[in-house]
Symmetry: D3
Subunit: 246 residues, 6 copies
């Protein structure tokens, strides 16, 4: 099994903020570095917390397509839970390069994703799936090869805890708010939400900082103390600039 | 301070499922009895859990008007949090006899209601307010005299944890789902959601059961054992019917 | 409404470890003082935590009669939940001076006690009821006048979360273990379990300590420092003994 | 190290509901599929939640043998915790094909299983062990090669949080109720409890559904939409039947 | 029993930032209003969350004196828990007008305050006590008449969960950080920490806002809509200024 | 990548209680065995709970060097969070053979360790890092090759939840207390704290018990029952001694 991070230029093209150049940069940038740049601009609440990647090594980059579940209620499950429900319509409609982000209120006691819908998302070219609920058929989902972040596995079907409700609205997921069109990036550290209007600025600043931090890390690995180096004082910064210019 | 449970027949009349007769019956019926009847019909997930009444003795009966907050996100609070936001619009628009039900995701770390909005709801003839978040100015709110159920007091303003987002959609509150138009009933035992289509059936069955249970309670108070009496066997039921017919 | 702490010498006499003298002493001793004496003898895990008294001023003293609920399971509720079930049999069988202690696994999402069973327990001369689950009809239960400790009110019937299972076995309640025959004492600080074999020793030691602490409290109230006085040094102890002998 | 799922036909034969044929079918059926069939029959509370497999690839199938721990209490640990206690007796008595299911109240702060008892269970032909508490010597247990599901590792001995109490009674584990004789099935999605009387019906229905779902998954993988296919409309079903009959 | 909020000008005078004028203003200002002003200046994490007042009507104003407990560890309790320990030294040393703020890590399973120490704090002129742990002898503490905020009552002595460790250092309490010398204000909405350097600015701004909000509340009570009034538009503000000048 | 457990005899030698002999013995002893010996001496609260190893196979042995973070507070982060703060000073000062133990109050919502500081600790010869908070750059930290135990990964920088405050004082971590100089041992079962004064006694007793338990495990693996063997009766013990003497 190999986990591919799908490129955005395929069929069903999503005409959003995620250009091929931006996509490539985001693939190359750790979520931790993006998080730091968001914080520098006053954005501290941009992480989807409590979710773990099904494949630790699969980088996730895409545009949010939202799906909302409401708490299980027997009468509403009868009217809205069966047949071609909101969940299934959302997976049929997902566009190439999108990440389906699911509001499940942190409730892990049922599966908010199964293997058939994961296969469908993959076939549509979706970039990944993030849910703050559980997933079922987790071994089968892992075999599909699409990046998935969730609260963990649970064998029960959706209706044990949820009613599939609507899609395409602003939702809550993992303690933050996600809007359709937000840029979603995930790696082993977690999942972050980037407002599309500042994505270029954020990723460029993060890449520049990564270069600097990698140089600092190398100096620390050589035995230099943190003091004066992290953050860099004038002497270290001069040396950094000098070496970088070579 | 006296806590009034407003009658529905006032200004701003809400033309919903809550007739004056149904309203009067619901006022007279314990939430516990309504809950038992919902369960008999397969509805087990109809309680708004984790909320407590600000005034323990205030019965709450009304029609749900929903309001949704999403998790605090600095950029969205700038765009949606200030001025005449979704929260304020909802309180200006509440109709006589309605209960404002707020989705706050169980987050109690800020106030989702303050005294000025409580005064506005009361002035509009609202029947009450239910939030699964915190409230601020709790002493001032208590003085307004409108039934309020919440997760407790917190001094911070809304924006510490929430962005006011939208109103009039189906929401989650206290672990259940609430739709605009659902009937909301609260007392010291908690808050329950009744689908309007079955409200008459539920309340009639609950009142009948209350009469029966009160008779059983009186017999138990006289020293009779539970066995055969609760539930009633044929002998006891015969005696119950006989006495009731007098 | 007045809350009586029933005296043990009535009908249905329980021939247990709780003599009238021990009962009177326990009524006069704060739970905090009993807890300290248990700890001095190496017993640190004797409190039923997370429960609150329905009437803050009602002292509870009695002998444990245990009742166990297991998690709700639809098939087992059909076979064991209805009719004259284990819960109802336990309330019919409770003896004068006993405290019904219920294992509800800390699950507060349904009522593990209703008003009719509370009336029955009171009619049988039970000393009180302790449950680490919810209670329903809480206003009606409060009117019965029997001390009740619980996790709070919930309107749903038992079967939403529990199946009534068995009685008279060793159970878990509020994080500790309770055996039938254990002595249960509750007040505003909480509920404690005392092994009957050491109850006399514990209460005598606690009462002696109370006398000493009350004398210390009076001295501290007069402006004396804690140093040397709490615990008492030789000088203070000499003065304490002298005054006590007068 | 290889993890064997022991076949039931060995020594110490358990004369229960788990025939060799049923055992083989359950081995071949995902827990998620069994869960869906239980739900179709109104059984929604049959999962042991919060436990994780020590070896993700080890399928677990067996008959429940129950063991109950009560909360740690110093006096009861002295009387019941040491020597040949209830825990040790249960492991010596486990029969071939049984799964030891332990009630540990979700308390993960000590080990409810160590390597010596795991070796004993394996030597007796037990099919596995499920505990909603912690395990200690987790690397050594993993080396034994018996399927184990738990809340995770903790180095402390049992007595830090528990007193081993009794065996062979109905217990709570992971939020559901387990009876001796229930059928236990586990895989990467979780652990499920199946009442023995309906096990044949459940597994047959699940296997039939698996076949259907696998066919649907293949069609979705070919690029077909969910709409009309999952669940299947008349056209798809006709094609499914046609292909299956070949 | 009357609950006094002690005036700061008594014996043992604390020469801190809390002048009599500032003290009087803080007594007159709701915690909710102070919280809003802190947030306006970028301070969002200043509340001690999860604590409740023992006397709902007692306003708390004072200067923080800190006390830190570390988790119970048997060897350290032997060396540091008994005799004239850090807790007792802190209560003997508290100055007039100070609030003892205790770090108990949110652990409510023992008493971090008992009646004798509460009496001592009161005798020293302390303004109050805030702990994010439990309290024991809660009825006796309530009778002392000093404002106390805690996580609730628990009968056990301190050593069940804590070792008293040190005082006068920066601590964590209820999710925020408290430094010796910080200004502490509590009421029914909760407890807030104000850095002394900005206390005058904060309270003056809060009082001005209170006046404005009270005027707005009166207008809303008269039936005016929120729109344009809360926050005030130019017309309403002109009217407000005009009336205030009269 | 290979994970080394650094030997203590290098540069920056820490002159503590951890001799080379003791270090070697601790490397050879499971944490579970050490925990059992501490309990035998009345020490039940010595585990750092809720932390997981980044590399499951890396044994951790070293001497505690403590670091304390306090809850995020905007004003204090400005004064103490930036530049060469307490966290950075602690990593520059760590000595060979030490384990940096971080108090993060169990708050996992930010990184309390990043790759550059992990590299610095490794370069200084530190034995490992234990934090009851999150870590960021977790893949990069894993590549450093120093044992790390944490609550999991989070992409945010420290300041989202913490202010780095002080070092070298007694702290709380994972529910226990850690003093500078305590011996820290970790493996797949968890992390334990050993008071240095009893470390030799503890490890010798644990090693002796390991030998005995390994012999018992072998006998159980041969099919012998637990009864009489675990714990050993006189017959088994005689045979054990006899074989050991050969």
């Amino acid at each position: 099994m190999s986990i591919e991070t799908p490129a955005p230029e395929q069929t069903n093209t999503h005409t959003g903020a995620l250009t091929a150049e931006l996509h490539a940069k985001l693939l190359a940038t750790p979520v931790a570095g993006l998080s730091a740049q968001l914080r520098k601009r006053g954005l501290n609440t941009m992480t989807i917390d409590g979710v773990r990647p099904l494949h630790p090594t699969a980088k996730l980059v895409g545009i949010a397509a939202t799906l909302r579940f409401v708490p299980g209620r027997e009468d509403l499950f009868i009217s809205h839970g069966g047949g071609y429900n909101a969940q299934k319509r959302a997976f049929d409609a997902v566009k190439n390069g999108e990440v389906i982000v699911i509001e499940a209120r942190g409730e892990a006691g049922s599966g908010t994703l199964g293997d058939i819908l994961a296969i469908r998302a993959h076939a549509r070219g979706a970039a990944g799936i993030v849910t703050d609920g559980g997933i079922r058929d987790c071994d089968a989902i892992a075999a599909v090869g699409i990046p998935v972040y969730s609260k963990g596995a649970h064998p029960a079907v959706l209706g044990r805890k949820h009613v599939p409700w609507d899609a395409g609205i602003t939702i809550a997921c993992g303690g933050t708010t996600v809007q359709p069109g937000d840029i979603i990036v995930g790696d082993a550290d977690g999942v972050i939400v980037i407002p599309p209007a500042i994505a270029d600025e954020i990723v460029d600043a993060a890449l520049a900082q990564e270069e600097e931090d990698a140089w600092v890390a190398a100096r620390v690995g050589e035995g230099n103390p943190i003091e004066g180096l992290f953050p860099m004082n004038a002497d270290w910064r001069a040396r950094f600039k000098q070496e970088r210019e070579r």
